[in-house]
Symmetry: C2
Subunit: 231 residues, 2 copies
């Protein structure tokens, strides 16, 4: 059998995530309605997030800090009333938000786990990702969990060497072309892109059309058949 290991992204591949960020961003817009127009606010927040990424990395805690920083900048350091407390509360609610798995996930993973070693490969806050996996009820299906600070080709080489027979005999699956698909292809693995209706600006990338080991799938329900078809 060619494929030994299947890597799976978590946020927006197994469960909803970007939706929760967008809801919080809507709430932030409402909080800041007297201070900034929605577009200007989004632009400033994106700039603050980008600037902080090197220090904060990915995840809700860094996002919450970036929301507060954006609010401080736009109010000249004098936020009105309960604005900051409301942002802190929004961040805590994101961390405590129930995990909703995407349709077809349970079935596809149960199927794949009978033949392949499944590895969860995800960025974000360590504790929060562990808690989401536990809440999802999917933990038992994974042979390993790798929570990483960045997803580049080296990450996939290392993870697939540790949990299988190397990237050449592994397939990766996720919603982000930039983080899940392109670096996995660069590492020499197969990679399937399953789009989620929303994509964080930072995760945008061009579809790697023409690359031999790449596939675009409509839903995770198509994943088992695609992996089996690799031989």
């Amino acid at each position: 059998m060619r494929i030994t290991t299947v890597g799976l992204d978590a946020d927006d591949t197994l469960w909803h995530n970007e939706t929760i960020f967008r809801l919080t961003q809507d709430r932030f817009r409402a909080l800041m309605a007297d201070v900034a127009a929605p577009e200007a606010l989004d632009e400033r927040l994106a700039a603050v997030e980008k600037r902080n990424l090197r220090l904060y990395g990915y995840g809700v805690k860094g996002f919450t800090l970036s929301l507060i920083e954006t609010a401080m900048e736009l109010t000249g350091g004098e936020p009105p009333g309960r604005m900051i407390a409301d942002i802190l509360a929004a961040g805590r609610e994101m961390l405590a938000h129930p995990v909703e798995t995407l349709p077809g996930v349970d079935h596809a993973l149960a199927d794949l786990s009978q033949t392949y070693r499944l590895v969860l490969i995800t960025k974000g806050d360590l504790l929060h990702q562990e808690q989401k996996l536990a809440a999802s009820g999917l933990g038992e299906l994974f042979a390993a969990v790798e929570i990483v600070s960045e997803k580049d080709a080296t990450t996939y080489e290392r993870v697939f060497a540790r949990h299988g027979a190397g990237a050449d005999r592994a397939a990766m699956c996720g919603n982000s072309l930039r983080s899940d698909v392109i670096p996995a292809l660069d590492a020499g693995a197969w990679a399937a892109h399953i789009p989620y209706p929303l994509t964080w600006a930072h995760e945008m990338a061009e579809t790697p059309v023409g690359r031999e080991r790449f596939a675009e799938l409509a839903s995770i329900g198509e994943l088992p058949a695609w992996v089996r078809g690799l031989g």
Copy 2:
């Protein structure tokens, strides 16, 4: 040879950490001088940190959020002037703070790494801990790095099974009795406590006198001889 793997804590075992937290806390006291007496402030901050630990886990980002929350509570949600911006800046400076290794660390690790598999086992923010290890120049001496959300007996069982011949043939070393020593002993490993001059209240525990596999060392310079003496 009895021992195959030596686990090492990072913060306050290999490099200064609590000192940096205390300096930030001093700065926070100065910022809040008109609002709360130092003791009342420390007490409130400790309560907020404890309440948030389940959601935020360990590390600078969660600490920064708890500082902001404490400031909000003590100012009735109306923090004066640049207080919040100053706290954000303090948090960012902690993340960017240079890594200062403790005396004797380089020599002890270089020595041990010739005979044993060294594994770094640490809590905290994933990205920040990776960055500190890179900045320390010690990365090459470790066979593996495990950044974990909690250090309990199960953690040590899992890590020492993965990177060696199990806890029975492993030794752990760190400055926290609560996180590094007691759970490692409970897992069946040997454990050496090397105190750091400062200990975060959350990490306090009683010295496990009388436990067979426990040792108290004055500095990391004593570690190689102690490990070799285990046979």
